[in-house]
Structure formats: C-alpha cells, structure tokens
Symmetry: C2
Subunit: 93 residues, 2 copies
DNA sequence: ACGTTCCACTTGCATTTTGCAAGTATCTCT
DNA sequence: AGAGATACTTGCAAAATGCAAGTGGAACGT
C-alpha cells in the first residue's frame, strides 16, 4: 500500500478531513462541528471515534457533560496537506 | 463551501486521488490503472468520467482501440497536495 | 428532590455508493 | 472468419451515508 493509500485509509472517509480542518485553530465541541459543517450527527460520531482511534485527535473532558475534541501532534501534522488541498480547491477550473 | 470542501467535491471520492497519483509521472491506460491500483473496473470507469468532466484529466486516443489518460494542467496542480498527504501517511503513528 | 434543559450522542430505516463477477463492444492480427 | 486484447457496461449484493427521532446523563432552578 502506498503512502497516499495509507493516509486515505485514515482521513479518506467522507467528512474526515473537514472535521480535522475545523480543529486546526482550536479544539471544538461536538455541537460546534455539527453546526459549522452540517454533517449528519451519526456520521460525525463515527468519524470522531475513528479519528480518535487513529491518534489524530483526543477527547478532552470539559465541565458539565461536554467535551472538546483537540488534534494531537499527528493531527496537527495534517495542516500542510489540508492547506495544499484547499489551495487547489480555491483555484479556478 | 470552504476551499477544502470544494476540492473534496472533486477528488474526495474513493480511489480518485489514487488514480491521479498514478498519472503524475506519465499518462496511463485503463488496464494499467486497474492492475496497479486493484480498483474495481466499474468504479474506475466512473472516476475517470468524473475526473474528465472536472477537467482533471483528458482521454488521449492511442492506436488500436486503446486510449491513454493524462492529467491536465489542473490535474498536475494536485501534485503538491498528493505529496503532502503521502508524506503524512508515511509518518509513523 | 424533582422536573426542565442542554449537550452528546444512539437507533432505525431509506438512499446512495462501492464492490464483485460476468458480459458486451470494438479493434487488430492472422 | 475467428481469436485475442483492451476498454468498458451491467446486474446484483454489501457497505457507507443520510435523515429524523429518541436516549442518557449532568447541571440548574425551584
């Protein structure tokens, strides 16, 4: 399996990279991600679980019964790839 | 829609980026892509059609009844993003 | 202490996408 | 005309995705 295939195995699923992008600047809560992305709630829950298992993000317990999702070092390492893809998407066809 | 979402709208489907990666160095034929990637043939046909419509690649008629698929300028512009993602995939967890 | 509210999910089911295997079309060469 | 090679298409099963409603637990007000 190529390096690219290995990467896509982790962040290639629908919504995965968009979720990571949201957290690049600061940790986000579940509701924030849902509102900002418009992602179906069951999919969001699934992605967060997968990305946590993959070591891309961690759950931070917050006060009340809320938690924040924050990128790990490995998650933050996606910044360059996300920016590169974003630049490409911004260019006109 | 964010720039990243726009990009994923085009190359976010399964196999799409892997197909583009294969053509970064040189044009490829249908059978080559199928063998090298192990992608289901109907999916490959669908992706090639989508990527052609999106202006990422073009069909080049070859002799016999074969054709080659080659990246356009827009397709080649994906190189940086693909390399960035590949690098990330190559790093250990 | 009890009900209400908020937040983070889960669950059930329809729709869409993906995958597998087999079949079709066209060209070339003999 | 027949055979082989290449590029697909087609039919159907499996898996992923999406939608809407429901669940569970902690905090807050009374």
């Amino acid at each position: 399996m190529s390096d690219l295939a290995a990467a896509l195995d982790i962040v290639g699923a629908r919504w995965a990279l968009l979720v990571v992008e949201q957290m690049l600047d600061e940790p986000k809560r579940y509701g924030d991600l849902q509102r900002d992305l418009g992602v179906p709630t069951n999919i969001l829950a699934t992605r967060l679980r997968e990305l946590e298992v993959a070591g891309v993000l961690v759950r931070l317990p917050l006060r009340h019964n809320t938690r924040a999702y924050a990128l790990t070092e490995r998650g933050r390492a996606l910044r360059e790839a996300i920016i590169a893809l974003g630049n490409w998407g911004a260019e006109e066809a």
